[in-house]
Structure formats: structure tokens, C-alpha cells
């Protein structure tokens, strides 16, 4: 009797293959992409359930959910890639709400012709960063668009986490007298990305600071009873985020320029381009605000974390019906730090 031949499926040609339309169609090709790429690296019991949605264990406490879409270009940059960024971004958004991040979803929109080798690099990177942060990527989706209708790859990640009982952080909680701290050097990510844009043509060793901050946020939530809020200053930078918080809390802010940590190379690159580091994006930093009684402890906790070695207290909240963020210059003068009006453009004048 003849043995039934096992059905042979040629494995994906990761090395030289490209994304084709049928990878997004939900059929055999999609299944192959999932099993040989996504599931292979994201490997966890929830993802392996293989249903349309993931059944997750019940959790005690309030649930926090956050979502972020990632369209960064170039997709590979010094210090990270679109994959690692997509994990860090959403883990951080959940974490700064005071929650312990638990699960992520990952949605991919791929352009026809996108190299599988690049996709593998990105997926591997996401898996690594998820593991470091202690989160599982439990569900996902892949769609493919025709060549010319996408920018290679777009990723959306949505995350859920759980907030311990009694914790309710909010950007509206700040009061005059509260102390503002930033967890480290600002502007690294934005400059790293810009330096790789061909038309600006400058070289720097600055790497993106993209990182998961949940170990720092968890310590702050646990040890700082007067913690009002935390936020990560991504697009728009420190300046924009401070303005958001000031407006939400209906307070003003007074910060000191001399205290704001910035790497010399970042300052130099900003000089070249006529940019203000206050408005350059960060992907591995956070702003935390707490009552004055806990300020020293807050700084200690940040600095004890490997991502917070250069943390600084930069200012305080003040009474101000206009909700202005004002900065004292090293010269004793004062200037406004206003909302960023549109994207900062390099200038000649």
C-alpha cells in the first residue's frame, strides 16, 4: 500500500522573497507568513491559540488601553527600527498611565514588493523588545496594498495593561508647587532620524533613545504616593508635552534651561539645522510630576534605573490662568516655551 505523501509546502524564501498581494488575502499564503514569520518569533501561548481574538486571563484592577501607529522613515535607523519603536511606543503609552503593560496586538500594512528579509528583521526586533518589556504580542493582522500605495511598511500596535488599585494618574492632576522631572537627555531620537535623511546630509553618532520605560514607571507608581502623572514626550518634544500637561491641569510651569539635560552632539546638530532641542522627538524618555514632598525620591528612583541615569528635576508648576510654560535662560532672562506650531523645519535664517 502506498503511504499518503505528506503535503509539501515550500518554505518562504525569507532571504530573497518579497511580499506579494496574496500574503494579505487570508488564505494559504497568509497562513504561511504567520506561521513562518510572526508566530515563529512572537511565540507565546496566547498567540498560539490561533483564533480570531486572543482569550486572555482575567485581571484585577482597571484596564488601560493605548494605541499607536508607526510610519517612521527610514524604517531602520541607528538605535532601532520601526518594529522596536512600535513596541516601545505602545508599552510606554500604557506604562505612563500607571499601568503594568501586559499584552500587545500588532497590525501590519505591507506594500507589495517589501522584502521578506526586512520584515523578518523587524519582526525579530519586535519579539526581542516585547520579551525585554515582559509583554506578549497576542494577536495581529496583516494586509497588503499594491505597490505605490504604501511606504514599505506601516505598523499599528495596541496595548493593554492593568492599573493597581487606588492609582489614577492624569495630566489634569497637577497643582501649583508640584515638581517636574525628565528622565534623561532630550532630542536623541529626532536627531538620529533626521541625520539619516539624505537631503540634510549630516553624520552623527547619536542613536535613537527608543526604549521601554515600564520598569521605571512601575517603580515610580509603587514608591511615589504623590505622583500626579507621567507622559512620554514623543512627537513635538518636551516643549509640546509640557504645554499639554499645563493646559490639562490648568497650571503654569516654570522650568530652568540650565537643568534640562541635552547631549552636546544633539545641541550641535540642532545648531546646524536651526532646530530647538525642546521640540525634537524622544522615544525613551518620560516626564513625571509629583508633589514637592516626594521630589528627591522621584529623582532617585529615575536615576536608579539604567534608562534614567541623566534624570533631572527641571522645574515646578505654578499658579497661572494662562497656562504658560516659561523658561528661565542661563542669563536670568525668561522666555516662553510655546506649543510647537506644525512640524519644526530646518532654517537658514
Amino acid at each position: 500500500m502506498q503511504e499518503k505523501k505528506k503535503h509539501y509546502v515550500r518554505p518562504l524564501n525569507i532571504k530573497n522573497g518579497k511580499i506579494e498581494m496574496n500574503y494579505g488575502a487570508g488564505g494559504k499564503a497568509s497562513a504561511q507568513l504567520i506561521s513562518e514569520l510572526f508566530a515563529k518569533y512572537f511565540n507565546n501561548e496566547y498567540l498560539m491559540q490561533g483564533d480570531d481574538g486572543a482569550y486572555l486571563p482575567a485581571a484585577e484592577g482597571h484596564i488601560v488601553m493605548a494605541t499607536d501607529s508607526h510610519v517612521v522613515s527610514p524604517i531602520f535607523f541607528s538605535g532601532g527600527d520601526i518594529g522596536s519603536l512600535s513596541v516601545h511606543g505602545t508599552v510606554n503609552d500604557v506604562s505612563v498611565c500607571g499601568a503594568k503593560p501586559l499584552y500587545l496586538s500588532a497590525g501590519f500594512i505591507l506594500e507589495e514588493g517589501f522584502p521578506l528579509a526586512d520584515l523578518e528583521k523587524i519582526v525579530k526586533s519586535m519579539a526581542e523588545e516585547a520579551k525585554k518589556a515582559g509583554v506578549y504580542i497576542v494577536t495581529g493582522d496583516t494586509k497588503v496594498v499594491e505597490k505605490g500605495k504604501g511606504d514599505g511598511i506601516y505598523i499599528n500596535t495596541t496595548g493593554v495593561g492593568v492599573v493597581p488599585k487606588g492609582i489614577h494618574l492624569s495630566g489634569a492632576n497637577c497643582k501649583p508647587g508640584d515638581v517636574i522631572a525628565v528622565s534623561g537627555d532630550i532630542g536623541d531620537h529626532g536627531i538620529a532620524i533626521m541625520s539619516q535623511r539624505a537631503n540634510l546630509g549630516f553624520e552623527t553618532e547619536i542613536q535613537s533613545d527608543s526604549a521601554s520605560l515600564n520598569s521605571m514607571t512601575e517603580a515610580l507608581v509603587k514608591e511615589i504616593p504623590s505622583l500626579r502623572c507621567m507622559r512620554d514626550p514623543t512627537r513635538g518634544g518636551l516643549g509640546t508635552t509640557l504645554n499639554e500637561l499645563a493646559t490639562q491641569s490648568k497650571v503654569g510651569m516654570k522650568i530652568e534651561e540650565a537643568k534640562i539635560p541635552v547631549k552636546e552632539q544633539v545641541t550641535a546638530a540642532c545648531e546646524f539645522l536651526g532646530l530647538d532641542p525642546l521640540f525634537v522627538a524622544n522615544e525613551g524618555k518620560l516626564i513625571a510630576i509629583c508633589g514637592p514632598e516626594d521630589a528627591e525620591k522621584m529623582l532617585e528612583i529615575m536615576r536608579a534605573n539604567p534608562l534614567g541615569k541623566n534624570a533631572q528635576i527641571i522645574g515646578t508648576c505654578v499658579e497661572d490662568e494662562n497656562c504658560f510654560v516659561q523658561m528661565e535662560t542661563p542669563f536670568g532672562g525668561t522666555r516662553m516655551v510655546d506649543w510647537l506650531s506644525g512640524e519644526q523645519l530646518p532654517r537658514i535664517c
Binding site: 549630516f202 553624520e203 552632539q265 550641535a268 546646524f272 532654517r347 537658514i348
Partner: protein
Amino acid sequence: MCLAVPVQIIEVLPGDEAIAEIAGVKKTISTALIEDVQVGDYVILHVGYALQKIDPEEAQKTIQLFNSQVSA
């Protein structure tokens, strides 16, 4: 008047070009507007062109002038 930045020449290239550097940030620039560029020179850079060399002695005199204003 315009945004210009003092940078140091770290390499002279053929065709009126050079590599300039400031605090570790490097850029290829044009030296077509100045003469006699040497590695180690400081120049004022504007829109990718070196406009003028910085004279280290005069720069030092300026700093001394500032310092002399410091009240006794």
C-alpha cells in the same frame, strides 16, 4: 542675517570641499568662498558653505575683553 555655525575642518577634500565637524557631528561642506583651508581651521558655516575663517587670536581678544568687564 542668517543662521551660521562655527565648525572645525577635519579633512580637506578635492574640488573645494571639506569635512567639517562640531561636537562630533560631521558634514561635508564647500570651501569655494575661502582660500587656503587647512585641517584644524575653524570656519563659519552657512547653508553648506564656509563663509569666513575664525581668527583664533581675535577670538581670544574678544574673550579677554568680556572678562575685563568683570567688576573688580
